[in-house]
Symmetry: C2
Subunit: 909 residues, 2 copies
C-alpha cells in the first residue's frame, strides 16, 4: 500500500513538476494549514519526513500550527547552482508568509501583532538533531516590543528575542556559542543569580543589546532587522547544514544515500514558555525501550522544545501530567493529557506504527509540532511488531519488516550475570536509556573514543550530555554514559536507534571533560579505568563484569516463526563440535554449512599424531601417523552427524598450513623431539622448512591434498566410516555429510581431488560392506578469486559451491586480516572504506566475484547449490546480497542464526 502510494505520488509530482516547468515556474513552496494543505504523507521525498507529516497531520484534523514547506529539490537546486538560492524561491516564500498572516491574523514584522515563525530542516529520512533549527524568527528591535505588549509578557518577549539572536548567530553566522554564554554569565553574575530563568526582565533586555553587539562583532554585520531577510538567510543556513560534516558523517554511518537534500519547514511559532500554563514535551506512543503498549513521554512546564531534547532540565513523565497546575492553581493537566492520549490513538491508527511526537501547550492550547516513526530498541521492535499484529494494525509480513535484523544482536548478545553484579561496586544508577551491557575504559571525547576504538581498545564514551557532534564517537564506543539528560535526550535516542548500550542522566557522576576524569562517590576515574554499564537497568559499576547468554522472548520466537514462512534462503551454521551443532540447532540452524576439521587436531594425543604426520620423512610413516588420527576424526564426525541427524553437514577438509600445528618454542620443540625420538634439531629444521613468507597464500587448503593425497584419504575415510556407523547404528542416525575441498583455484585441482575422494568413499563402502543409501556430495569452497572467475570450469566438477568470503575478501582486496589493523583505522577514519570489509561483504568488489561465480557456475550446472560460509553469513546487509544473487543458504555462527533467519525473510519480502 505504502509503496503504491509513493509511486503514484511520485508520478503525480513528476507530472505536476513537468506541468509547472512548462509554465517556467517550479513549485518550491507547499503550504499546510486550515485554509490550504498541498502536501500529503506520500510526498516524503519532496517535502521531507517532517513536512509530509505536518501536511498529513493537518489533513486529518490535528492541531498543527500552520506553515509551509520548501522542497528538498529546492535544496538540491541550491547546491547544483553553486550554492545560490533559486531566483523565484523568495517570491513563493513571501506568498506562504502572506497566507500564514491571514490564518493567524498576525503580521510578519509588525510592531503591534508580530507573526513569529520557526525554521526547521527535515529530510526524507529522519536524522535526529543533525540539522539546524531557528526559532522565534520575525523578532527585531521593534517587533519584540510589540510582542511584549500583545502577550503582556515582557520577559517572554525578550527571552524569545535573545534566544533568536543567539540561535541565529550560531546557526546562520557561525558565531561561537560561548561568546553569547559569556554575556549571559556576565548578566547573571551582575544580578547574583544562577539559573537562566532567574534573570530579571531588565537583565534580558540588556542581554539582547549585548547579544546584538557580540553578533555584530563576530559576524561582521548587524543582526538583520528585516524579517524577510532573516528568513532568507535562515532558509539558506538550513540548506547549507545538509552538507556539514556531522550530517555527511551521519548519512555515511547510517548508509543513507540517494536523497535530494533537506526540506525547510517554516511554521508559525507556538510557545511553551509563555508562563506556567504553557509547556512542551516529547512522547512515544509506546515504550521505545521495552515495546510495552504504554504511552511514554516527558514534558517541561514553561519551556521551549529544545530544553527537553537537549537534556538541560530534567523533565516530568507524562503519566503525571494530570497533576500539572497553572499559575492560577487551576489544574490544566487533566484536559491536556486527555487530548494527548486521544491524539496518540489517532496517530497510531493513521500511521500503524509507533510515533515519536513533539507537542507544545501555549497558554493552555495544545499543538502538535511533529510526528515521526519512533526509534526503538530491538526488543521493543519485536514486541511492538507482535503486539500490532495481534491488535490487527499490521500483518505478519509488515511485522517482519519492522524489526531491523542487525539490531537483534543486542537481544542475542550476553548481558551481565546478575550474580557478578553482587561482587562489583555499584557506582551510580542512571536512566536505562538503551538496553544491553558494555564494559570498557573511559573515553571523554568523541574523537578519543574513535581513535582508541580503532586502535583496538574497548571504550565507553562518557559525556555530560551528547550532541550531534558526538555521533562518530558514539558509533565507535562500546557504550555511552551521560550524567545529564533523560530517556529522550540525544544520547538515548541515538543509542537506541543503533542498539548500543546507553545509561543516561546518571547525575551522581561528575564529569570533567577538560581534565578527562570522572568522579563518583568521592573517587576519581581516568582514561585507564574500566567500568561496566547496564543499559537495561541504568546501573554503572566499577571494573569489568562477567556476562550471561540471553534468553529469547516468546515474541521473538513468534516473529522468527513468521520469518521462516516467507524466507527462501536456508540458514545453516558454522560449527566444529557436537556442542556447537546442538546450540545452533536450538537456534534453528538447518544444517552445518562449515565444519572445520583443523580444530579437531589440537587436543591431547591428536596434536602429537598430527605433528608426527607432518614431520614424517616418507609416505609410509606419514600414513602410520594418519592412521592414528583416523579414529579421532571418525568419532568427532559421529558426534556431529548425530547432533545434526537428518540435516546436511558440510565438512571442509584440512585447510591451514601445516606449520600452524608445529611447536615454535625451543622447549616444546625439545619435548616433541624427545617424544618422537628424532632430536630437537630435526624438529627445529622442519619447523623452519615449513615456515612461509605469506602463509595465507602458501601451501594450504587443497594444495596440501595435492602434495599429500594421503591426508585427504584419511579424512574422507573418517567421514565415510562415521556416516556408515551412524546409518548402521541402533539409533539409525541419518548422517548427511557433504565434503568440501578448500582453496581451489583451478578446475584441475578439484577434478583430481574429487576423483580421489569418490574413489576413497567407494573403497570404504566396499571395505565396510555397506550397501545402504549414502550419497556424499563433493563440492568446493569458492574463496580464491580465480575460482570465482573460472566458476564455469570449476562447476563441472563440483556438486556445490560454498563461498568462503573471508579468504575471498583477503585476496580480492589484498588485505591480510591478521595485518590489517596497521592501516584499517586510517581507512575507516579517512572514509576510504565504508566499513570493515571483513564485517560486511564488499558488494561492489567481492560481491561482484560471488555474483559472477553463481552465474557462471549455474550456466553449466543449472540449479547448482550455492551457499556462503564466511563470517558475512551472519550480517544482514550481506544476507540481503546473498538473497539477491540467488544463493541457496547462508551459514553463520550459532548465535547469529536467528538474525539470519529474520534477515533472510526481510530480503525475501
Amino acid at each position: 500500500m505504502a509503496k503504491k502510494n509513493t509511486m503514484t505520488s511520485a508520478a503525480q509530482s513528476a507530472r505536476s513538476r513537468r506541468k509547472v516547468k512548462a509554465r517556467k515556474v517550479v513549485q518550491m513552496v507547499y503550504s499546510f494549514g486550515k485554509s490550504k494543505t498541498e502536501g500529503d504523507a506520500s510526498m516524503r521525498p519532496l517535502l521531507g519526513g517532517k513536512g509530509a507529516n505536518l501536511a498529513d497531520m493537518t489533513s486529518i484534523g490535528l492541531p498543527v500550527p500552520a506553515g509551509f514547506t520548501i522542497t528538498t529539490e529546492t535544496c538540491a537546486e541550491y547546491f547544483n547552482s553553486g550554492r545560490k538560492l533559486p531566483a523565484a524561491m523568495m517570491d513563493q516564500v513571501h506568498q506562504g508568509v502572506k497566507r500564514l498572516e491571514k490564518e493567524s491574523g498576525k503580521e510578519f514584522g509588525s510592531s503591534t501583532n508580530p507573526l513569529l515563525v520557526s525554521v526547521r530542516s527535515g529530510a526524507a529520512v529522519s536524522m535526529p538533531g543533525m540539522m539546524n533549527t531557528i526559532l522565534n524568527l520575525g523578532l527585531n528591535d521593534e517587533t519584540v516590543a510589540g510582542l511584549a505588549e500583545r502577550t503582556g509578557n515582557e520577559r517572554f518577549a525578550f527571552d524569545a528575542y535573545r534566544r533568536l539572536i543567539n540561535m541565529y548567530g550560531d546557526v546562520v553566522m557561525e558565531v561561537p556559542h560561548h561568546v553569547f554564554e559569556a554575556e549571559f554569565d556576565k548578566i547573571k553574575t551582575k544580578e547574583g543569580v544562577r539559573e537562566d530563568n532567574d534573570v530579571s526582565i531588565q537583565g534580558l533586555k540588556q542581554l539582547c543589546v549585548a547579544y546584538e553587539a557580540v553578533f555584530k562583532k563576530a559576524a561582521g554585520i548587524d543582526f538583520p532587522q528585516d524579517p524577510l531577510q532573516q528568513l532568507e538567510l535562515a532558509i539558506e543556513a538550513v540548506f547549507k547544514s545538509w552538507m556539514i560534516d556531522k550530517a555527511v558523517t551521519y548519512r555515511r554511518i547510517e548508509g543513507i544515500s540517494g536523497l535530494a537534500g533537506t526540506a525547510v519547514n517554516v511554521q508559525a511559532m507556538v510557545f511553551g514558555n509563555m508562563g506556567e500554563d504553557s509547556g512542551t514535551g516529547v512522547a512515544f506512543t509506546r515504550n521505545p525501550a521495552t515495546g510495552q503498549n504504554q504511552f511514554f513521554g516527558e514534558f517541561l512546564v514553561n519551556a521551549q522544545g529544545e530544553d527537553v531534547v537537549a537534556g538541560i532540565r530534567t523533565p516530568h513523565p507524562v503519566e503525571k501530567m494530570h497533576l500539572w497546575k497553572a499559575d492560577n492553581y487551576k489544574t490544566i493537566g487533566r484536559e491536556i493529557k486527555a487530548t494527548l492520549l486521544e491524539i496518540k490513538d489517532i496517530l497510531e491508527r493513521h500511521y500503524t506504527d509507533v510515533q515519536d511526537i513533539e507537542f507544545t501547550i501555549e497558554q493552555g492550547t495544545f499543538y502538535i509540532l511533529q510526528t515521526r516513526t519512533g526509534k526503538r530498541t530491538s526488543a521493543a521492535a519485536v514486541k511492538i511488531a507482535c503486539d500490532m499484529v495481534k491488535e490487527g494494525l499490521i500483518d505478519e509480513k509488515t511485522a517482519i519488516m519492522r524489526v531491523p535484523a542487525a539490531g537483534l544482536t543486542q537481544l542475542l548478545l550476553p548481558s551481565f550475570d546478575p550474580r557478578a553484579k553482587l561482587d562489583c561496586e555499584l557506582l551510580a544508577i542512571g536512566l536505562p536509556a538503551s538496553p544491553g551491557a558494555a564494559t570498557g575504559n573511559l573515553a571523554f571525547s568523541a574523537e578519543e573514543a574513535v581513535k582508541r576504538t580503532l586502535a583496538g581498545e574497548k571504550v565507553l564514551l562518557v559525556r555530560k550530555e551528547t550532541s550531534p557532534e558526538d555521533v562518530d564517537g558514539m558509533h565507535h564506543a562500546a557504550g555511552i554514559l551521560t550524567s545529564t539528560g533523560g530517556m529522550t535526550s540525544h544520547a538515548a535516542v541515538v543509542a537506541r536507534g543503533w542498539g548500543k548500550c546507553c545509561v543516561a542522566g546518571a547525575s551522581e557522576v561528575e564529569i570533567d571533560e577538560i581534565a578527562h576524569t570522572m568522579t563518583v562517590q568521592g573517587k576519581t576515574y581516568n582514561a585507564r579505568d574500566t567500568i561496566s554499564i547496564d543499559g537495561s537497568t541504568g546501573e554503572v559499576f566499577a571494573g569489568e563484569m562477567a556476562t550471561v547468554t540471553p534468553k529469547l522472548s516468546s515474541e521473538f520466537k513468534k516473529l522468527i516463526g513468521w520469518a521462516d514462512k516467507v524466507r527462501t534462503l536456508a540458514v545453516r551454521t558454522n560449527a566444529d563440535s557436537p556442542e556447537d551443532a546442538k546450540r545452533a540447532r536450538a537456534f534453528g540452524a538447518e544444517g552445518i554449512g562449515l565444519c572445520r576439521t583443523e580444530h579437531m587436531f589440537f587436543e591431547g594425543e591428536r596434536i602429537l599424531a598430527m605433528r608426527e604426520m607432518i614431520l614424517a620423512r616418507d609416505l609410509e610413516s606419514r600414513q602410520a601417523a594418519l592412521a592414528k588420527l583416523l579414529p579421532f576424526q571418525r568419532d568427532d564426525f559421529v558426534g556431529i552427524f548425530t547432533a545434526m541427524n537428518g540435516l546436511p553437514v558440510t565438512v571442509r577438509l584440512l585447510d591451514p598450513p601445516l606449520h600452524e600445528f608445529l611447536p615454535h618454542g625451543g622447549r616444546s620443540q625439545r619435548d616433541l623431539g624427545e617424544l618422537l625420538g628424532v632430536g630437537t634439531k630435526a624438529i627445529a629444521t622442519r619447523v623452519n622448512q615449513l615456515k612461509e613468507m605469506n602463509p595465507m597464500l602458501g601451501h594450504r587448503g587443497c594444495r596440501l591434498s595435492i602434495t599429500y593425497p594421503e591426508i585427504l584419504v584419511m579424512q574422507v575415510t573418517a567421514i565415510t566410516e562415521a556416516a556408515i556407523r551412524c546409518l548402521s547404528g541402533k539409533r539409525r542416525v541419518k548422517a548427511m555429510p557433504e565434503i568440501m575441498i578448500p582453496l581451489v583455484g583451478t578446475y584441475r585441482e578439484l577434478e583430481v581431488l574429487r576423483q580421489l575422494t569418490i574413489e576413497t568413499i567407494a573403497a570404504v563402502k566396499k571395505a565396510k560392506k555397506f550397501t545402504g543409501k549414502l550419497n556424499i556430495p563433493v563440492g568446493t569452497m569458492i574463496e580464491i578469486p580465480r575460482a570465482a572467475l573460472t566458476a564455469d570450469e570449476v562447476a563441472a566438477h563440483a556438486d556445490f559451491f560454498s563461498f568462503g568470503t573471508n579468504d575471498l575478501t583477503q585476496m580480492t582486496f589484498g588485505f591480510s586480516r591478521d595485518d590489517i589493523n596497521s592501516f584499517l583505522p586510517d581507512y575507516l577514519g579517512q572514509d576510504l572504506l565504508p566499513e570493515d570489509p571483513f564485517e560486511s561483504l564488499d558488494v561492489s568488489g567481492v560481491g561482484q566475484l560471488v555474483e559472477t561465480a553463481v552465474q557462471k557456475g549455474r550456466s553449466v550446472k543449472p540449479g547448482l547449490s550455492c551457499g556462503i560460509c564466511g563470517e558475512h553469513g551472519g550480517d544482514p546487509a550481506s544476507i540481503d546480497f546473498c538473497h539477491k544473487v540467488g544463493l541457496d543458504y547462508v551459514s553463520c555462527s550459532p548465535f547469529r542464526v536467528p538474525i539470519a533467519r529474520l534477515a533472510a525473510a526481510q530480503s525475501a519480502l
Copy 2:
C-alpha cells in the same frame, strides 16, 4: 595466399566429404603416384603434414615413391568408436595397394616379385620421432626368398626381413627391443664379428628364424605371414601411437591441440641398403644452426634412413657426396648430388621456406621420401628470414612471422666469455648441435632431470643419445649433451626447435647410464659435478663458466626494424637506474614502464635515513628523515630522466612494506640503535612491531601513503624537482615523468592520493617558480583483483592504468611467489597448471581480470592509456594477449625488449 588455399581446399574437402557421405562411403584413403594423386599441400589437416607434402611433391614432379595416405579423420574415428578400425577402411587400403602394384609392376605378397611398403605416421603438425614407423612390410618367409632372387641380393633380402620382424615386434606387438638384440649378439658372437654388417648371409637367415621364434614367444602369436594382415595391424599400431604418453606429453609441452589424429602413409619401399650404389640421407636446404644459405646434410652409403636419424653410424656431409663411388668404382655421387641440389631449389621455391628432407638412393636411382619445414635455431631463423626477403622469396611480414619470438632469448642470453674458456678445462668437443651456453650439474636420466630441475637445481641432461622418451627431461634441463649422434640426431633436432643449448656426438665422453657417471680424459664425473657446454662450438668444459652479453646481428636489427613498422603495441622497459635505462634504450625501449623507487633507498647513507624515517615516533622527525632522502631521490630521477630524454618514465611510488628496510640481525640492530641514539631495544621493538603475518597482503603500496602521506609528498617533490631541473638545465633534457600509485584496491585511495600528488606538484612548481610546460600524469597500477573488478570507478581518478601482473597473479591465484615452490613442482608434474603462471600470464583467470579492467576503465574514460609492467611483459604469449585486449604498451626487462618488439609485431599481423 597460403591461407586462401587452405580455406578453399578445406571447403572443397568438406564438400567432397559430404558428397561421399551421401554415397554412404567416406573416402579414407588418398593416393599419390604417377597414375593418380588425390591430395595436395593444403590438405594437411586431413592427410597430415607428411602425406600432404608427399602428394604435393608428386604433383610437382619430384621422384617420390608412390603410395597412399589414410586420413587423420580415420584415426579420430578409430578412437571415437572405442579403438575399432572403420569397417570400410581395409577395402580402400586394398584398392590403394592394387594401384601401387600396378604402378610398380610388383605384387604384394608375391614370392617372385614382391611389393614392399613402409608405414609411417604423420600428423598435421610435425612431431619428430614421436610416432612409430614400420619398414619393409610385405615380407614373409616366402616373399623374402623372392626378394633375394629378384634383387640378386640375398644379404639385403634377409637383412630387410630381420629388420621387419624386429620393428614389427617392437612397434605393433610391444616386444622389447632387447630380446632381438640378444639374438643378434648371439649370432655375432658365434661368427666372431663386431658390426651388424659383418654378419654372414647364413647368419642373417638364422637370425630371421631366431627373430620369428622370440617374436612368437613374446607376442604370443606367430609373426603374421599375410601381408594384408601385416598392414592392417601396422596401421592400427600407428593410430594407437597417437595416444601414447610420450606423444601426449609432446603435444602438451608444445601446446598442440585441436588435431584429429595422425594420418598413416603407406608407400612403396625404396632401399638405401641395396649395396654400395645405394644410400640414404637427410638434408636441410640451408644451415639450420646458422641460417647460412648453404646446403646442409648428411648421408650414409648402404644404409636405411633410420640409421642416420638414430645417430648410430656417423654419416658423411653432403658436400662430399660427389666423391661417392659405387662397388664398381664408378663415381655415382656427382650425378646424385646434382639431382639433390636441383631438387633443393625446386623445394625452396615451391615452399618458400627451408626444407628438411629425407632421401634415398636405390641402386643409383634417387628418391625423395619426405620434406617438411626445417626446424632451426633462432639465429638461423632470423638470418633465413632476412635472406629470403632479399632473395624475393618472401615479404617482410612473412619474415616477421617466421621467427618465433620466444626463441630469441637464445640470441639475447649471455654466452660464455671466450676469456673464461682459457681458464677452464676443456673436456671434449662434440657437434655444435644447438647454440647457446649452459652450465649445470649432471643428470643421467630424463626423469632425474625433471625432478631435480623442479626442485630448483640447474642440470644438464647427459645421455649416450636421446629418444622421444626423453623429451620431458630435455625440456626441463638447462642443456643437453650426447656422446653419439650427429647434427640431425634426435637430440639435436629437438633442442634446436626449443632453442635449448645442445652438444651432440661428443664421442670422447663415455657415459654410464646405469652407474650414473660420465668419464672423460680418464676422470669420472657424477651427479654432483658441474660442467659447462657451448652449443655454438660443441665445447664441453669442466666446472661453471662466466658468460658475456651477446651482440645483435645486423639481420636481427633489420628484422626488428620491420617489426617496428607493423606493431601497434609500444614497448617500454622496467628500469630503476640510469644504466639500465640506457641499456634498454639501446635495445629500443620507448620509455620506462616501471621505475621502482625502493631500490634507491638501499645504498650507503640512504638506508640510514630511510631507517630513521621508519623508526620516527612523530611526524616531525619522520619529515626530518625524509628531507635527508629527498636529494638522493631527486638526483636519481635526474639521471633516469636524462637517460630517457624525450621518453616517458613511469615512476612507481614506494611499494614494499617498511619492514623490508630494517636490519634483522641483533648486531646490525645494535649498530643502528647506537647510530640513531635510540638503543638496541627500541630498534628491536619497532622491527617486531612492523613484522607482518602476510607482508604481501599487508601495510605496503599506497597504504603506506595513506598512513604516512609525507612519504608520498617527499617522493613527488623529488620527481617534480628533478623534472624541473632537467627541463631548466643547460641541456634542456625533456623529462616526461608519470607518477604511478601502487596497490590501489578502491577508487577512494586513488582519489585521495592523486589529490595530494597534484597539490604537491603544484606546490613544487610554485616554490621553484617554474612556469614552463610540465604535465605529470598520475595513474595507478592495477594489481589488486578488486581494482580490476571496479576499474570503472578507479579510472575516473587515473590518467593511466599499468597492470602489475606479478601481484595480480599472486592474489588471483592466492599464490605467494615466495612460497610457491613447496607445491608448484607437484602442480606442473601432475598437469594441474599448464605452466608457471608467473612466467606466462594465466589468460583465463588473471587475463580475464586484465580484460575486464581495460573494458571498464575505457568505458568511463575512452582511450585510457593501459600498459603492463609485470614480468609477463617480456613473454611472447603474454604479449599476444596484451595486444588482443588492446593494451597500449608492454614493459619488460631491458634484454627482453627486442623480443617484445618482435612479438608485438607478430600479434599485430
